[in-house]
Amino acid sequence: MSNFALEVENLVKVYERRGRKARAAQAGVRAGVRAVDGISFSVPRGEIFGLLGPNGAGKTTLLKVLTTLLRPTSGAARIEGFDVVAKPLEIRRRISMVLQETAAELLLNVRDNLLTFARFHGLDSREARRRASIVMDKFQIHKHAEQKVQDLSGGSRRRVQVAKVFMVDTPVIFLDEFSTGMDPILKRAAMGYLREEAAKGRTIVLTTQILSEAEELCDDILIMNRGKQVARGDLNALKLLSAGVYEISLTFAELPPTISQDIAELEPLRWRVDGNTIEVSLKVEEARVLDIVHELSKKGHVLRVEVSGASLEDIFVELTKEPDGQNIAKEA
């Protein structure tokens, strides 16, 4: 048996156009949309794997193929050794998924949502009730146990949705932007639970646009853009791709009036002002960094200076920016 929970080989998903648009495409006017374009990767068991990319990168489509919601146009994908096209039922027996949009049985109460989900995954009534009680405690939804989900806030509905995957022991969990709508405390707790599940040997595949989440959680990251792989590796490997990117943070006693112009002249990757603090990401030679800090500090009275290497956000911006409309795939 393979050591990998997931194996994806040159996967392509093209959304074909229908009707008049399809006829136009056949006439060579415009082909279908290549939402996933030749993606290959594998994920060992027990790993937390992050799929990152801007809106429309193809993350959700890739997840839909892996969870048997969509058939790939070409290529292959196996989960726990089973092919997504040939053995979809075997795959569904081994996965649980949190969709991007909130998905819950709105007419049922919280407890019945959990019990119904458990029943689909073959748990007997007694075991399902025992687990529901534990999961409701974990996600702080016990007090809503008998309330219909339609009467809960958006955040609580999300809790119910995420809580469901902890009801079962499927070896692979897919999470599509799981933390949307969660408050920071619960999000932190949920991330802790996910780490615990991974430590038990469950493989977790998540998509996110919250890069700090991926930075904190993922053992391995794949960055996608326009359906293609842009970069792949663990955080350190990805940071190497962005060698020479530095983050400078300066807090002034009073923000200098010309600071925007001064920063623009440095041609930063990105920058922002938060109160009297400016944060700038620059791609420069190491020797220039201190010079730049020195130049900027002459503009006003500086209270705090911080210089650090690139964050995942810097890498993400660097790798997915499209100055000439093209992206160059990089291997970490």
Binding site: L89, A103, E105, L107, R119, H121, G122
Partner: protein, 251 residues
Amino acid sequence: MSSLAAIFYRESKIRATNTTFLFFDLFYPLLYLLVFGIGVNAALGVRALSPGMDYNSFFLAGVLGMASLGIATTSSWSFFLDRDNGIFFEMLTYPMRRSEYLLGKVLFNICIGIVQAVITVAAGCLLLKIHLHWSALPVLAAGVIGGTAGWFFFYATFALKIRRNDLFNSVVNVSYFVLLFASSMFYPLAPLPKWFRAAALVNPITWQVDVLRYGSIGLGAPRVLVLEGIAFVLFALASFAWAVRSLREQG
């Protein structure tokens, strides 16, 4: 089998959240029979169709056929509710075949259909003095079960293909008009104009209602009914295949 039970469990849990819903599920055909049947019988003075057979007896099968359509459209409409709740796509990742998803729903619908039929037939016998053709009850049961399944698969396909709730409602309204009135549901076909009768004869609701009529009051020629029964089974199987295919195309 466990996935069918899980779907059944889910459907029953949802249905149990609203007792009004449950009441109309079970008593709607009976109310139709009592209000419409008695009204036509009394107000329009419909003469006896054959010795010992009044309009209520004739209309009993029509009401049961109409109930199959009602369950089918309500259950198909729930796909829209599931889509709006986001649960529809999540359910498609649950460990079950697409066909099991549909069969689980049908199993629940059939149970509702059988209870509905028992209530309606019992009340028809007790209150309206309808004389049942007892030896043909298995045919009646087959008509209820097959009809409930066939019409659900038929409407489920539209619900899955059409992404717009309002468009689905229009399809249901138009199809109801055609299926109900161009059929033997409300009136015998013999006195109708030739073109009308021809349209009714190719209407699957006529096939189902004729089987139900034989199963309830023993009216109809067995040889024709066998053909109609086979035609309806083929219609149901084709609808099932189409519905499974439509479900596979979701995502």
